[in-house]
């Protein structure tokens, strides 16, 4: 499995992550090595019928849906980098573009 520079850029776009140009060759090489290593899973004599294992309780328990006092010591106005009048401030949403085709 060889990951190209373009593969890294495509995945980085899906992951919403800027990667710098000069680091790209090393990143591609390291990702290739990791993916080569994990590719040995294809040799596991696992039948397609093996049910994936999910740990934890067999059933999800629900709590009563009750209105309770605000449980947090601070609100979003304290935590968010930009917050005004009850809203998170971000660049204009109409400029949101669709992810590039994968």
């Amino acid at each position: 499995m060889s990951v190209s520079r373009d593969d890294v850029l495509r995945i980085a776009r899906l992951a919403e992550l800027d990667v710098d140009e000069e680091g790209l060759p090393v990143l591609a090489e390291q990702m290739s090595r990791i993916l080569d290593y994990v590719a040995q899973l294809s040799t596991v004599p696992a039948s397609e019928s093996v049910k994936p294992y999910v740990p934890g309780p067999d059933a999800i328990r629900f709590r009563p849906d009750e209105v309770k006092p605000w449980p947090l010591a601070a609100g979003p106005d304290d935590l968010a980098p930009a917050f005004k009048g009850g809203f998170f401030l971000v660049p204009k949403l109409e400029q949101f573009d669709e992810p590039e085709a994968s």
Binding site: I11, D18, Y37, V38, V44, G56, L79, A80, V90
Partner: protein, 456 residues
């Protein structure tokens, strides 16, 4: 009050390790206030417990060793913190760790690497290296870490302390910053099995705020057994490969001999899918991480690294690109890759199926009458800083004996079983789900007889 100051002084003396992220003056002030308010009837009254910096506290910042959470103060505290305080413990600051708990050496922190307490040229293990180093240096009797693939047991082994990862679902994860949600568990470091067990007993038990926490009473502390009579200990042959470090092998052989002398029956077992555990883990953990870390986007909390973004996606990318370090970036990219269209079945689904086979290996061993498994915790003692940084796969392989317990959700404990050239070697006991009491009993018995600071 003076005790609180003494705790602060002890922590101040090990500053050279870079194990503690909380500034000394802030910590001293908080410890004095906590001591004044601590419940005198609590079972951990006055016991200082340091916390890995991915466990949320109201008193101190929670950065996860990352620039993307620099200065972040959680608006709530983890259930384990509430339970520790209710038992009278003092929260002795936040410890340095690999960024978002991703690493095996605590070299991947945005706040600098942690030094091994016995040799500053070496790593303390990771990702909970700061917690392990503080306990090993004698600054605190116990500390909490998190263990997703060995991040408590591996540094415990490297630093020569006890580290226990309980069964998945034994301890609430409410307030633990999520990395790999099907694998993460909060674990405990202690100077001794008893110290670790006492803290584990306090933090365990049901929590309506964590749906993955089992509806069970807190763990009851077992009595210290007279011997290991009646215990059947399995030695999985896959954990003793021919290229195992000779000193690690000698220490394990000695521990096995001592367990036999204590009356344990020892037999060889096989866990045939062990060699697939690390690749399975390094598909599942990055996949879960890529999803869990999507929330760090520069909008809801943490700093925003933006400049003048033209749109919201540019804001996300700039913040995440500047805020995450190289190992976290690598894992997000690998995780995104294995979940992406066309690769999901080949990697992610295959890894989930292999995980089921690994779980079945353990069931088969326990069904054949084995109570506990004994293995080395790590393939070698603590390695040198920088030795594995350029080769991620080589770093991942230092988790080879610990990831299986996370994949199977089983409790496991590392305790010191010897030293080579002054460096500690750890032995691992793996137990059956929710039978931490058996695990601790055997650990008590082994700890009592093993010459933990002597060469095998």
């Amino acid at each position: 009050m003076s005790d609180a100051k003494a705790v602060a002084d002890r922590l101040g003396k090990v500053k050279r390790l870079n194990a503690l992220l909380t500034p000394a003056t802030e910590l001293r002030k908080s410890l004095v206030a906590q001591a004044a308010a601590a419940r005198a009837t609590g079972v951990l009254y006055g016991m200082p417990v340091a916390l890995k910096d991915n466990i949320c506290t109201l008193e101190f910042t929670t950065t996860c060793g990352s620039k993307i959470l620099e200065g972040y103060r959680s608006p709530f505290e983890a259930t384990v913190v509430t339970k520790l305080k209710a038992a009278g413990a003092l929260i002795a600051g936040k410890t340095n760790c690999d960024e978002f708990a991703m690493g095996s050496s605590t070299e991947h922190s945005a706040y600098g690497r942690v030094m091994h307490p016995l040799d500053k040229a070496r790593v303390p293990g990771g990702s909970s290296g700061g917690s392990a180093a503080l306990v090993a240096a004698g600054a605190v009797p116990a500390a909490l870490g998190s263990d997703t693939g060995g991040s408590v047991r591996q540094p415990a082994s490297f630093c020569g302390v006890v580290g226990i990862k309980p069964t998945y679902g034994r301890v609430s994860r409410y307030g633990l910053v999520a990395f790999g949600s099907s694998l993460d568990q909060i674990g405990v470091f202690g100077r001794s099995v008893h110290d670790a067990a006492r803290v584990l007993s306090v933090i365990s038990g049901r929590d309506p705020r964590d749906a993955t926490c089992e509806d069970r009473d807190p763990l009851r502390l077992p009595t210290v057994p007279e011997s290991l009579q009646g215990f059947v200990i399995g030695l999985p042959r896959e954990y003793f490969p021919s290229d195992l470090d000779p000193a690690v092998r000698r220490a394990c052989d000695r521990a096995v001999r001592l367990m036999k002398e204590q009356g344990a029956a020892v037999r060889e077992v096989s866990l045939p899918h062990t060699s697939y555990a690390v690749p399975t883990y390094y598909v599942l953990a990055p996949a879960e991480a890529s999803s869990n870390l999507a929330r760090y986007d520069g909008v809801r909390y943490g700093p925003r690294f933006d400049g003048a973004p033209v749109d919201i996606r540019a804001l996300y990318r700039a913040t995440r690109g500047a805020g995450f370090g190289p190992e976290v970036r690598r894992r997000i990219l690998v995780g995104t890759y294995v979940l992406s269209a066309g690769y999901y079945d080949a990697y992610y689904r295959r890894a989930q199926q292999t995980r089921a086979l690994i779980v079945q290996d353990f069931r088969n061993a326990f069904d054949r009458g084995v109570d506990l498994l004994f293995t080395p915790t790590t393939p070698s003692p603590a390695f040198k800083a920088g030795e594995k940084l350029a080769d991620p796969v080589s770093m991942y392989l230092s988790d080879i004996f610990t990831v299986t317990a996370n994949l199977a959700g089983l409790p496991a404990l590392s305790l010191p079983i010897g030293r080579v050239k002054g460096l500690p070697i750890g032995g691992q006991l793996i137990g059956q789900a929710f039978l931490e009491d058996e695990l601790l009993e055997a650990a008590y018995a082994l700890e009592r007889v093993v010459p933990a600071t002597e060469e095998p």
